[in-house]
Amino acid sequence: MPRSAATLSRPPARAPGGRAPGGRRPAPPPPPPRRPARRPAARPPDPRRRLRIGRVLLVAVLLLCTLKLVEVQGIRAGDLSADAARQRTTRQVVPAERGSILDRYGTPLAFSVEAKALVANPRRITADWNEPAVRSQPGSPTADQRKSAIALGMGRILGTDPGPIFQALTSDRSYVVLAPLVDPGAARQVREAFPEIAEEDRESRQYPAGDVAATVVGSAAWNMDRQKIRGSIGLESALDTTLAGTDGFRVVDTAEGSDAVIPGTTRAEQPAQAGRDVVLSLDTDLQYAVEQRLRDYTARVGARTGSAVVLDAHTGQVLSMANSGSFNPAAPGTPGSQLSNPSVTSPFEPGSVNKIVTMAAAVEAGVVRPEDVLTVPGSIRFADRTISDAWSHGTIHLTLNGVLGRSSNVGTLMTAQRVGPDRFASMLEALGIGTRTGIELPGESPGSVPAREDWSGSTFGNLPIGQGLSMTTLQMASMYQAVANDGVRVPPRIVEAEVGADGVRTPSPAPPGVRAMSPQTAHTMRDMLQSVTQDGHGGDRGTGPAAAMPGYPVAGKTGTAQQVDPGCGCYSQSNYWITFAGMFPAQDPRYVVALMLDRPPGGDSAAPLFHDIGAYLAQHGNVPVSTAPPRHVPLTLP
């Protein structure tokens, strides 16, 4: 202790400072004599003065630092730390994977895979390769040589034409997309070979079935603005929010100027919610078969377009919805593509298919029975119009079966008069004509039915025979589904269920059924509709025996409707909508099929197409054959 005190007291600085050493033990005296000894030799500058100045300076600097410290740590602390955080903190989007679209058996119709876009900055490539330091190196390629090497290399790795890549690289722009959707492995290969090329995350939508069901499923493509894949057509568009899911985010620190995440700096994280898978009620194999048959038949009869809908007779689910035109969902812009889905968007006048409305209303009201015989003249007057049958005849005797089976306009209108317009209108409404079915597909048309109060005298001469009102192929199928399902019309639906990312399947709620007619009436209607496919001689032959299938009784109805000629505003004498709607097996139907052909030049019936599709359905659905002899009832009486 005493020794250390001596060492401490050695610096003389304190002693001259005027401060008394206090209680300190007096130190050995040597220093004082030493100092005076030097002083005479030393020149004027006084070290004490220097030290004092130094001390003052030091204190001043310290004071400044303290002030700055207070400013930085106290006054501006919030701003500065916010600035720093802003520089460091990056909010990274965690993309949500888009859900798949599956058919009823889980076969994917659309799904997403990871992909990369290869991008480059041509200006920078030019600048980098034109730098003097680079140019002075012997053998270094020019910017253009380098670009052509990149284009050739990319073409080789990706298996594409290097021409467009080279063109993009030589353009005077700072951002070009060289390849929009590249397999991640290939993208990495390119990036390793050519460091000038950068990659960006993309999602590639795959449509393994190609154009099959494309008008229903639609198409989705990368949206640059949203940096996300977006549905633009069909269900991809209508169910976009369900399919897309919710992007998550992650707040992390990154090294400035790069995307390298500093480990352990994740501050907030919200995981992405993957999009939900959508399970459709479609059956891809059936869809393919129906599309092929429809396309073949449409081409064979020379119709402009055609559409076909197959419904499950009991649930009203859409098993197939086909249009003669389609498109490749991977390239929707290709010329000749048909992007719309006319089965639900394009209404048409149904023609005689609509006669079941009159018949069902009449049987339901009990004003007629199938065996009743009507004395049908060659034509009938309705207000100012004369309506006759498609085949000229004098007065004949048709059973009600015959009126439907032979599609007599006059007989139908006679029945309609007995039913009355009100009961007819309410049956039309119960069968869903004039209102949207509410199917999940976009752009559904409700069709059109003139409002009851606007009916003129001739309106009621038109509607029962399916002119002057319009419906879609889907509505037509739904109308017959009511007959097939013992009078209860279940509005058709195409989305069967949704499957979450956790694999939990949520079935779509079944729409409430609408009772259109009693089960007895539906049963009678199915019997009567078999008269249409009845084969016989002369007056006992229905209008659609071509739809009949051996072993499967078919109940259906043919239809031919005149189209409106836009030139004269009148009904055309040469352009027709040819329709057919039916079900089988007739007394316990499993399938309902509705067909429409637009303007076949020869006016061919759609019944053979029903036969083609029905034969496939019977085989595909393992429908048991019926051994009962074909139903045969008299249609025309002498």
């Binding site: 895979v113 393994p208 099959v212 092929q292 085949w391 003139p450 006016g603």
Partner: protein
């Protein structure tokens, strides 16, 4: 402060009673006869202390060296592990990419149009409408439908077909036609198939179709 003052005297007292080698006081004050004894004692304690310090220093050195080696070894191991981790990640990424690619290829190859094209390429033709052989409980059987051999049809009209389905169609289909026991499909082959399917309906359905047309004399006033 007060503690310091209190301990002061005690320390000095202890120095008096128990000679401490650190304090030179006894040496200064001591008499001649006591000196050698004190020196020996001090040497002995110094030796003892030296022999006690050396192992300690050694221990510390060993510990430090051990720690250094361990740190080096751990960091090397960690670096090596990070390489392995990186490698494993790369392999996992490659495999997941491969599985995604295979999944995509399988789905494309399994799709209805691709299967149909592959079947056509192998010379297969659609079976058409089958006849059913029904065996009754009494053993008798009944044929329902009209059994007939399948016929080659023209390739279906496909305006846009996915890439895998397109190649090698026409040649294969021609082969398929030749394979169906010499039956030549008259052009257009599709029409021939249609006629077959119409066989179920004798005569043609023309007049019946006409029956559908509503009154054609009077344009509807809608």
């Amino acid at each position: 402060m007060s503690t310091a003052t209190l301990t002061g005297p005690r320390t000095s007292g202890r120095t008096d009673t128990r000679p401490d080698p650190r304090t030179p006081a006894p040496a200064r004050r001591g008499t001649a006869p006591r000196r050698p004894a004190a020196t020996t004692r001090r040497d002995a304690t110094t030796e003892a202390r030296a022999s006690g310090t050396a192992p300690f220093v050694l221990l510390i050195m060993v510990l430090l060296t051990g720690g250094l080696v361990a740190t080096l070894w751990l960091s090397t191991a960690a670096a090596a592990d990070s390489y392995r981790l990186d490698e494993a990640r790369q392999v996992a990424r490659d495999l997941s990419e491969q599985s995604e690619r295979l999944h995509r290829d399988v789905e494309a190859a399994q799709s209805a149009p691709a299967l149909a094209a592959a079947a056509r390429a192998q010379g297969m033709v659609p079976a058409g409408e089958p006849a059913v052989l029904l065996v009754h409980p009494d053993g008798s059987s009944q044929v329902i439908g009209d059994p007939r051999p399948a016929q080659a049809v023209a390739p279906p009209v496909t305006p846009t077909l996915p890439a895998p389905a397109t190649p090698a169609d026409p040649a294969q289909v021609n082969g398929a036609q030749a394979a169906t026991d010499g039956q030549q499909a008259p052009p257009p082959a599709g029409a021939a198939a249609a006629e077959d399917q119409l066989v179920a309906v004798p005569d043609d359905g023309r007049p019946a179709q006409d029956a559908d047309r509503p009154d054609s004399t009077d344009p509807a006033g809608t």
